[in-house]
């Protein structure tokens, strides 16, 4: 069984202050392959991601990663043990240059060629190396955020709407990369582009008001008649 689930989320509950957002969430992420988390605005997707990475403390439930209980671990420990995270907002160090942002990403990656690899994926970033990341265009920012997270060589990559504001051509590029990546590591992706999400993911969970309302293999969820109802505002 642990063979199967790399990240195991059990009965997770979390929220902000007195307002609880997540209720009894159970999700299993396999060693390899993608998992999509879907849901309408405010469903709790970002909250879930924050809880996994430890930015938000869970009020109940357990998180197992790589067979170990990480529920009480600090964020940086989780990250160093192999979780990469692309947040939805504030996803770059705004006053640091692009170069420094990438350098922060590769702090724990001994491979000096890693940055070059990211730059070949996102050539646009290569032209902006000395610019403060805060002045990048919306799309460039996302690229940088994804690049930064990939530099850490994660075993589990959490992506919170990685393609928001990204140009169609680049989305295609990112999708291909992610599909490729999902063959090697585990990827959890929150995404509004259904097609993209379900191409990357083998498995999908749909959140509704903090609860898992629908789950199953990507294809099944896709064709589920309920799906649209859960995504409409």
């Amino acid at each position: 069984m642990p063979e199967q689930t790399f990240l195991d989320i059990r009965h997770l509950e979390a929220g902000y202050g007195r307002s609880q957002v997540l209720f009894d969430v159970n999700i299993g992420v396999p060693w390899r392959g993608g998992v999509a988390v879907l849901g309408r605005n405010g469903a709790g997707k970002t909250t879930l991601m924050k809880t996994i990475v430890g930015e938000l403390a869970s009020s109940k439930g357990e998180l197992f990663f790589d067979g170990r209980d990480i529920t009480r671990r600090r964020t940086e420990e989780r990250v160093r043990s192999g979780i990469g995270y692309v947040p939805q907002e504030h996803s770059v160090f705004a006053r640091l240059s692009v170069r420094d942002n990438l350098a922060v990403g590769s702090l724990f990656n001994p491979d000096p060629a890693a940055v070059d690899r990211v730059l070949t994926i996102f050539p646009k970033l290569g032209q902006r190396l000395d610019q403060p990341a805060g002045t990048l265009s919306g799309g460039e920012r996302k690229m940088l955020a994804i690049g930064r997270a990939m530099l850490g060589n994660p075993k589990l990559l959490l992506l919170d709407e990685p393609t928001e504001g990204v140009w169609v051509g680049v989305i295609e590029e990112i999708t291909e990369r992610l599909i490729e990546l999902a063959r090697q590591i585990a990827v959890v992706i929150v995404e509004q582009h259904l097609d993209l999400a379900l191409r990357v993911a083998d498995h999908a969970y749909v959140l509704d008001r903090g609860r898992v309302a629908l789950q199953g293999p990507a294809g099944e969820v896709r064709s589920d008649p309920e799906l649209l109802r859960y995504l409409a505002p």
Partner: protein
Amino acid sequence: MASTFVAAFEILSFGAIIVLVVLGLGIIASMMGIFNFAQGEFVLLGAYVTYLAYSSGIPIWVGMAVAPFIVGGLGFVLEALIIRRFYAAPIVAMLGTYALGLIVRESVRGLIGGFYLTVPEPIGGSIDIGTMHISAWRFTIIVITLLVMAGCYLLLSRTSFGLRVRATLENPALARASGISTPLIYGATFAFGAALAGLAGALIVPVFSLFADLGIRFLIQGFVAVMVGGVGSFIGPVAGAGVIGTLSAALPWVMAPVVADVLVFVLAIVFIKFRPQGLIAGKGV
């Protein structure tokens, strides 16, 4: 000619003293976004440690060498216990450090009984060049300041420490999500800033003698220097301190000291008004 040389030396040496004092302040302000009102008291503590060493018969230079470590250690502890809670609200932080400074200052005042106490310099007397005399210790301070500046620069630019610090300040949540242990970084930075203040205190106590208001004397000057230089980089505050220090030592040569005193500040504010980013628009180290 001779007097020009002496003048230049004296002005430079006071500039160096200000730089030394502002270094720690600037690092904490630029890297952590906190205008540390207790910085003056760290300077005072450095001076006090040196005095203690001297008065208990230990060689002074030993006292000077350990002062930064003791003050830095204290800074580390204070950061963990107190300062840490303030990062999100810089104005409250000003107040918290103000209270901290008040406690330290008044305690030291109690310990030294409100006196002005002298500490001799390890390298005393003056260097005589012809008919001119320049203070040996002030000369030493200039040299040490240059060394410390270079050291700090290298630390911040050549090691990943600086990068981590800046990333942490910029976006702590994201820094953690990049694997950086932010509490440690904060603690280390604050301790480093405090240690520099401790060093400054240790070095300047022979010049100014020890008294409870030794540190606070330089505080406002320090803040203005940081602003003039530009927050956000290491170089900025250093440059600002150089300018403010030399200016406030140089102006009394040409005008009434009372006027010069106010003029420095007015000039500084007008400068900042028209160049808000400071001398060195902050990026990089």
